[in-house]
Symmetry: D2
Subunit: 359 residues, 4 copies
Amino acid sequence: MNTWGNKLKLSIFGESHGPAVGIVIDGLPPGGPLDMDAVQAEMRRRAPGRDDTATARREGDMVEILSGLHDGRTTGAPLCAIVRNHDVRSGDYDAKLRPGHADWTALLKYKGFADRRGGGHFSGRLTAPLVFAGALAGQFLSRQGVRIKARMVRVGQTEDPDLMRGEILAAKADGDSVGGIVEAVATGVPGGLGDPFFASLESVAASLLFSIPAVKGVEFGDGFALAAMRGSQANDELCVEDVVDVEGEPHVEGSVEGGRIRARTNHNGGILGGITNGEPVVVRVAIKPTPSIARPQRSVDASTMGEVEITIKGRHDPCIVPRAVPVVEAALALSLLDCCLMAGVGAGPEAGPEAGACL
Amino acid sequence: MNTWGNKLKLSIFGESHGPAVGIVIDGLPPGGPLDMDAVQAEMRRRAPGRDDTATARREGDMVEILSGLHDGRTTGAPLCAIVRNHDVRSGDYDAKLRPGHADWTALLKYKGFADRRGGGHFSGRLTAPLVFAGALAGQFLSRQGVRIKARMVRVGQTEDPDLMRGEILAAKADGDSVGGIVEAVATGVPGGLGDPFFASLESVAASLLFSIPAVKGVEFGDGFALAAMRGSQANDELCVEDVVDVEGEPHVEGSVEGGRIRARTNHNGGILGGITNGEPVVVRVAIKPTPSIARPQRSVDASTMGEVEITIKGRHDPCIVPRAVPVVEAALALSLLDCCLMAGVGAGPEAGPEAGACL
Amino acid sequence: MNTWGNKLKLSIFGESHGPAVGIVIDGLPPGGPLDMDAVQAEMRRRAPGRDDTATARREGDMVEILSGLHDGRTTGAPLCAIVRNHDVRSGDYDAKLRPGHADWTALLKYKGFADRRGGGHFSGRLTAPLVFAGALAGQFLSRQGVRIKARMVRVGQTEDPDLMRGEILAAKADGDSVGGIVEAVATGVPGGLGDPFFASLESVAASLLFSIPAVKGVEFGDGFALAAMRGSQANDELCVEDVVDVEGEPHVEGSVEGGRIRARTNHNGGILGGITNGEPVVVRVAIKPTPSIARPQRSVDASTMGEVEITIKGRHDPCIVPRAVPVVEAALALSLLDCCLMAGVGAGPEAGPEAGACL
Amino acid sequence: MNTWGNKLKLSIFGESHGPAVGIVIDGLPPGGPLDMDAVQAEMRRRAPGRDDTATARREGDMVEILSGLHDGRTTGAPLCAIVRNHDVRSGDYDAKLRPGHADWTALLKYKGFADRRGGGHFSGRLTAPLVFAGALAGQFLSRQGVRIKARMVRVGQTEDPDLMRGEILAAKADGDSVGGIVEAVATGVPGGLGDPFFASLESVAASLLFSIPAVKGVEFGDGFALAAMRGSQANDELCVEDVVDVEGEPHVEGSVEGGRIRARTNHNGGILGGITNGEPVVVRVAIKPTPSIARPQRSVDASTMGEVEITIKGRHDPCIVPRAVPVVEAALALSLLDCCLMAGVGAGPEAGPEAGACL
């Protein structure tokens, strides 16, 4: 089912070489001003064709909004946005199954009826509408004081930012590709978001993060490293932080006169029992190497059921990790906004000039 | 929202020290025979009080089925099962926030109205109904040829099964606790399960796995290790396997006369593009150390907002990883059954003597 | 799927002659005090065995709450309530299909595996947990100023309340049964509840009302009578009503200093475009005659596929309309509460003594 | 929430005077051939501007499919279709609240941020994508032998088809409008569709039918007339019908050698206990008179909160009942297809030339 979310509902559609990719976003509060320049800047972070570490396919990724926006603000009705596909060369693909791709599983599921061109509905191009939705969600969240920032913490064998570009170009020179890890941090997150059990913030965010093509691992806080720890190391001890109520600033949620509970460390990544505690939410996402590589691989031709050697030509990213950074930010933003709306945070319509008259 | 699933719907309820914990399972095909002895055996694997590596709390964890079962078979109507709570000592808990627990976030979310006794709705005891549901799902899956088996692959500093018990007892002796990693493998999984994007098998399974208290990381196939690989290492090359049609055996899905596509390796853990390829599904789950430790910890008393030292008495597991093994199996079984039902695999009513008469 | 609702989720279970019927209610705000005496009074309105117009089956219908309630208040965690079945005489049922009942369709759907005893999961007894949930919802709504009241407006051939009892007893004397219409009115409903299109209040309420066994029609406002009207008759003209702000009373939503928009008539039943306008919500529900009648009927024996004559013995209501009155109230209450929670009305936790301390 | 359906998911979007209206349809089986000429013929039945009983607004209502279709067949991925808005005259609307319209409730809900032009998201124009989706669903259903046909059974004061046009023109001449009733019948419906309780076919269909603007009543079978009946009249007695197995024809579901259960009458409209019995599904829908009338009406100006007289100019239908006929067909088709897919009927991919090779 390609619908996601509880109070914020996403419905995504499109194929790599079809007319367009797009998304319907339902549940946005009315009255939210949309800064389209900032949105397009996010789109460009994800878009292909920026430099020699990415695919040469060039798409402006210009967003067209079909509904739900009026006079530059959300109306509260479903917002549909599409991105047209332009620079399409379908001739690059044939019937041989590309290892590491969904060609094989698409065949199992769709029995030969899938639109295989460019990966079809499985293409990373579907992340373009997700980045749009995330940018929009981020603007709602920033008005609540929430900021989200992701970065690469690993590319292949290196964790040093200065060496990552070299790692990618070396793989490219070898006709190969390389994976990596993206870490996202959200600050200013209200406490009390998420639910115990099935709608834990971890469940909500992971379900969206694992939707991103090539993601094979998700961890919160210290994640897998916690498995090697003792409780005395992993527990975040608590303290009381002085809170100074500044005139004109919103009162900090969860605080009382003179004090607010804080964690002394953040091994749990801002989430306890599935619910935010107000500390930064920290998530890391493992991204596998781009399956499309120039080297010859052993595969199967599904039309003849014969074993074949396949050499993928086309235009491909030697590493999609840099382009995945805004996608991970988007997924975290959408997860947090859904949980905010479920908790009633920022759910009310934003103030506007017209609202004053009779309401 | 404490409802999970697409065609198989779970609704879980209960508190650690309330009358009962339980689950409603909707969407089960009619006619499935239920082996209650096998179910109770699974319940015992999770139940507390088995040996000195676990909490001394003793619960028979006897399941009472209230609906949806008739003459030992599922009826197709919702099945509700409950487990009564018996051995309850509520005096063990007071108002100080226990580090690493959900006491703090429950306060933020429920504003003082949560049933805090024994962790309330956040308690690991809620995994008892999950194990029941998983055992039931496993029986449906096994009739489709699917087998699920989990095991500990790490406890604290060791990956050696022979040393794990020692690792736990050492932590216990120190008044401390220790985490670990559980790996689950499902074999015989039909190809074509799951959807691209929001309902990828990874999304579905992760949303349920992250519901389990203490889970902080989930990875499929080689997971985070893929981030350090090249595409030429991570891609699973394909081949054609001879298939011998044996009289009386079901035809293997995805095969044709004389051949069936197989992967030569399984770095992707049986999932490509969110959809199963018929290879074993492999998932690993990071479990943090039990937050309840005997050592004194710095914390906050929420009623006075004063900083305090807390020493947790009660009865607690120095390591919940052994008891988490059947819980992880359950979550994977439920995820696979939901995807099977969505795909129409095993969705039809099973054959039965009464069915023959007029249908 | 036996799950209903958007932010308020219901999951219902049970069979007429199984151990119990029950419901899980998820999404209730924490801190709501539950008046169990009032709840049981509602249960008794629906319960069988009250007088000679209803079935002689006697059930105390005592509710046992298994979770989600602590110290007499909702905790915010899922609330599960069950009603045990006691006075069960399964011998009353055999294999012949009873006309007007679900015996036939249960066979088509569940292939002989349904628990047929007493109508099984199709029994009107499933409305007992619904009435419980509705009574609970009604208590939340009444704290928002919403009141719901239903009454019979037709029984068989009469619309005169004084003659309804006679109509029922006449049918009973003939070994027959009779249908009727229940009208429910909700006052004090906040404006702005519901959504355009798929989650219109009419869609939400109708989906729940049509869940009630024997309901075959639902109309809002003037309903089917609107089909015969002109627009000039059906439109509700608007006016401005003076609003006096009384000290200590909540400000009326949708009002400004000195005025509040009102409808001069209420042909639309308080709903325009699927959304409440603050006028009373009016709904009418058609209930078919009880299918169980003493008269012989022509039917089929499913085990032999032979045509047979069937005479239903058992204990049955000659008219279920009186007992349906609290069920219709319950369904409307649950629909309104779900829409309130979606709109953020009454969603916040209610104030409590413990809440004051640190939040 | 503007998402509908269980296994077939609809997400609708658009405003009357925005760039486009559209729908995302998820869950369609792959391989279904789409007859676009037949779809456009359905679109024209709903489209405005056909004759003098309808609004003069002219829209080609040409459907553009953005995804989910390849080589004329569904791919199994989400299908998004849009209809551009062309003939838009936004100057026709001002700030006065039109009685009977959603202007008032949109203001209550969206606090002045709704796109009010032409009714915005509340416009009947949103039924265009619904008709598209219904036409597509109808083509899937027809391959299962299901046929759906709706007709007007009342317009204002007349039930005589020959007099309906006169009734509409008389209302138009008076500057007024008129309502009506549409009846839809589905034949060839498989038995066993729908669920007891919350997902009864009646609940599923009513939730969609009440989404259609102007619908105020829904009844199945004899509906409200059943309320006046005795059980002996309302019950549909059963018989056994001879079934002749014709070579090459599909075996009739629910039949055995030499016989198939049938109802002698159809007062229950093909549905018992929420589940289809194989008899024709019959539903009637009450449609209120178009609220836009040329006559002066008393209303309120929301910007000044003053009472005003309003005379609606614009272009409007004196009766939308004729245009509602294909919309009601669409809603019934979508409801039945969702229930078919849930029941596994027609859920498998349709056979195709490419499928043969390796699967």
